[in-house]
Symmetry: D2
Subunit: 331 residues, 4 copies
Amino acid sequence: MPLQDELDRTDPEGAIAAAAKRCSNWGRWGADDVLGTLNFLTEDKRVEGARLVRRGVSFSLSQAFDTDGPQKGWRRRTNPVHTMTDTGTDAERGNQGFPHGIGGADDVIAMPLQCSTQWDGLGHIFDHGNAWNGRRAGDVVTSEGDLVTGIQTAAAHITGRGVLLDVGRAIGTDGELPDGFAITAEHLEATIAAQGGSARVGRGDLLCVRTGRLTRARRDIAEGRGWGDYAGGASPGLSFTTADWLHGSEIAGIATDTWGFEVRPNEFDVAFQPLHQVAIPNIGLFLGEMWDLDALAADCAADGVWDFFLTAAPLPVTGAVGSPVNPIAVK
Amino acid sequence: MPLQDELDRTDPEGAIAAAAKRCSNWGRWGADDVLGTLNFLTEDKRVEGARLVRRGVSFSLSQAFDTDGPQKGWRRRTNPVHTMTDTGTDAERGNQGFPHGIGGADDVIAMPLQCSTQWDGLGHIFDHGNAWNGRRAGDVVTSEGDLVTGIQTAAAHITGRGVLLDVGRAIGTDGELPDGFAITAEHLEATIAAQGGSARVGRGDLLCVRTGRLTRARRDIAEGRGWGDYAGGASPGLSFTTADWLHGSEIAGIATDTWGFEVRPNEFDVAFQPLHQVAIPNIGLFLGEMWDLDALAADCAADGVWDFFLTAAPLPVTGAVGSPVNPIAVK
Amino acid sequence: MPLQDELDRTDPEGAIAAAAKRCSNWGRWGADDVLGTLNFLTEDKRVEGARLVRRGVSFSLSQAFDTDGPQKGWRRRTNPVHTMTDTGTDAERGNQGFPHGIGGADDVIAMPLQCSTQWDGLGHIFDHGNAWNGRRAGDVVTSEGDLVTGIQTAAAHITGRGVLLDVGRAIGTDGELPDGFAITAEHLEATIAAQGGSARVGRGDLLCVRTGRLTRARRDIAEGRGWGDYAGGASPGLSFTTADWLHGSEIAGIATDTWGFEVRPNEFDVAFQPLHQVAIPNIGLFLGEMWDLDALAADCAADGVWDFFLTAAPLPVTGAVGSPVNPIAVK
Amino acid sequence: MPLQDELDRTDPEGAIAAAAKRCSNWGRWGADDVLGTLNFLTEDKRVEGARLVRRGVSFSLSQAFDTDGPQKGWRRRTNPVHTMTDTGTDAERGNQGFPHGIGGADDVIAMPLQCSTQWDGLGHIFDHGNAWNGRRAGDVVTSEGDLVTGIQTAAAHITGRGVLLDVGRAIGTDGELPDGFAITAEHLEATIAAQGGSARVGRGDLLCVRTGRLTRARRDIAEGRGWGDYAGGASPGLSFTTADWLHGSEIAGIATDTWGFEVRPNEFDVAFQPLHQVAIPNIGLFLGEMWDLDALAADCAADGVWDFFLTAAPLPVTGAVGSPVNPIAVK
């Protein structure tokens, strides 16, 4: 019986408090810890991951960072604005004033750090004013940025064994889960079973979960309907009830092909991202969002190998609570 | 006899034209090519690179992205400006209006794409109005960005065998080369010889060259003198005369711990980055700048192993002529 | 017979060329001129304008600059992104580290200069590669900005007699013109006649034309339909045929309550802002867009006085081709 | 005897508390007030101001907004970064894809709102966690911006009688006060007396105080020394002891040609902008900074008339705690 059937839809606060209590990793790695579940990603795990490179084929799991992205401005989350400070047109015309025929192009960008493929850092979400490891939110993230768990603290760590669970393919229809579909622990385990041994998930792994939501958005765009509500709207995603599985599996991080990782609408009558509230400040789990898992998934389905060497290095923006990332999977 | 002794300091244009002719890779990978020397980075090379992971230790080769960086505003190259759209202080005070005790922090950034650790893309530099592979600069990079060789085309490719040549340690004093020191092919070869077999450099490798310039900047900062002219001022770097070596070695990319890759002041009386003019539009070579190689160099010196698995995935900003990057080396 | 009936809808290029020839002011104020029609705004005109201040009541003709504006990202025209670098929440909590109980809030903005109430500068539009006064466009506006007619050159000038022509009220239904309505010279003259002597328009005046389009957008927003296509969509506006009237009246500038000044869809089968192509590079006319004329119009209708002292000072951003502006009318 | 001789340099907190108590305007205009001293700027005052326009000559009191400004990055206060999204070079080359020969240039800006000529809004400074009119700072300015006294609330108000007190000319040497010079009420009164009747200052006036600091900075730039510490360094400015004069004069606003309005170093041993702490949250006074008063001052000295019609309209950025401004004086 799926756990979510037992959720009291009227009491998100009670459910969150109970899950937070069961799943808390506060203090597990000492009072000063800033890495959370990245502590599970050991050097041995990296050696194991590197050994998965057999063919040398590489995949970028990043969506494009551009003006035509899915963001709609909610909470000032716009799409990137990329502008040129020098161009080839000016260089060709001789407008730049450089010697010996050299010309150059330069550019700048303005963007939310969570506008496209990203990692949520540990300072991204709070539970009743508490940040990861029990710190007060106002001691951690001020207008100056994340003074404690800024994403730069994770700069060197996120490289190891990746595993893809293609739940869309295993459970869905034509490779996609419908919007509102809550992926439970049972669905995750069924996918692992269906995919076989290379899909085992355990301590220190970097787990990628494909729902097919991005595939659907891409089809919508190709057919002229645009991004629709990919950013913030209805979506398949992790059920609130997976909190214990996420905690118990001791994974180092988890990423999905959706805007918000967890199922939307959320599984309570009045709620906003309740699984985040357990996962980030209480479990200390790194969440990846808006990853593009489609090409990798096709390859894994073709060769039946679902694990790979994954390097998903956040840009070390000092004090950032999240980071754009171009995750690279090598098989 | 170092080749630079033969340079006619009064004729950069002639020297550049000759080197460009000798080293051109135009057409080598077809008229539509957008990858340049990344074509050398084959799947075999990635398998070779992955096998170098023995201990599982990982290094970030990225400097911090923050307001206190070295940029001074030249050609509008400022340091990143990172601001918060939501904070922990507001979350703790209950200012955010979210349900069930959840709070959040979000952030945005505005920055030049070349402000800190970076890749120069193939659209970054032109030679007499020509871009990589012989295209006209104004057909490639307009105000809309790089329409042909935008950095996103390289998104999945830059992962393979990395090699560190610590020229500062091998040739310099106390691990540092002085400003204005031009690293020649002879210096590179001498460093390879000094470092031993793991330092061999060949087709498809990602070469990292440490000069010690960043070490010196860090010391200056620690001692209160600030960044000084790290960005744009005098620096050790590659000699113009290495153009043939860079071409002949068939490396996939090269990165240094300096602002501008090549020696500064440049080796002509009136010049601006002449080696760039050969390397990017003519060789099609990917250049990394402002990489932080110090921790990796210390480790390599300690264990005598100078090669590693390197993943340096550019952020796929559509149409960008360069990209911030957090390169990850795993040994 | 309205002139637009004579327009050959299939030949915008011919119509533009003819109008440009009839209306050109090139050379009128010398080869070095950067002010165009602002030359008509003399000191006498300012004295005349100041004498219109009788009651001392002031009106801001600016829309809000905020994230919820009408822009949709077309050509990277986003709405402003305003973020805080320090907040009252942090100050109150004591997070800022200042002495003696002082606290502060600071903020930054990223925005297109044409995102809300604005002036188009003379470098904003070109006619067959020619900018105002016959300069080549590539000599005027490069990636460095407008090197000749940057908006800062107009910093001190735009203060004088303003006149409001409320065409929406005079000609429209319930104060609004429908989308696609082309305002002709006859409509302008009829409005002047209806409004009486204070509405006379002549040399050096700053003319404001109200269509009611913003009123309609506001109603749409209030009723939950959002901005719709206020930015870039169908709209009433000046007919292409007003080019001669705009030229002959010798006004110093003209502003409307619409996104794009001229009627949309444009009056040719395939066209994009053809009146701009005559008005800016050929007449040298300053165009204001997205002005909020509603409160001023109500006041003018109430007291029957349609002229006022208008100060519409562009922000002197060096090299800008346009500028946000908060125009102030005083009656 | 100058009051500052009586200041206890060791007790800024006591001095601020006492001055705040003496000068508080909290509640003076009701509990909901958001305008502070702008309430003094009545319609009659605007009529009086308009009557000062005799010759019709206009002056921009704004510095340039550009990359070469004085900011150094302190508290992320950078200079503006202005970039083009379309250029004349592209238009001339035919790169833009528009019909009938039209071409365009557009631009964007990223800047702190206090980077150049500006108004401080009432949400800019707090006193022990209190904002203007006794509100709690965290209720007023959150990460969302100033929810109560955002600068847009002042959009229509700041136009009226301006008065220039050229203290640099009246009291200084060669028109300039030295850095560290504290302008007292006596100096202000002496300047008024020296300048004559047109320099009277009273209720509702917009007061401009020239120190000559910008003149000095300009000379430094012209002679190759750059901006130096114009932004944040030593400077002449208002003495802390002028708090009572500022309160008692009932002026609507005050602006200077310096970075920070008050004298620097501040007049206490350990302090940061103590006069701000009295003026903004307690008096409710609008402060202008970095105004360029030189051309206006020269004109006033020449004709002996020191008052004028001043329109200094802030850009109505929703929720901003300050605003760039191009103040226009007309005589």
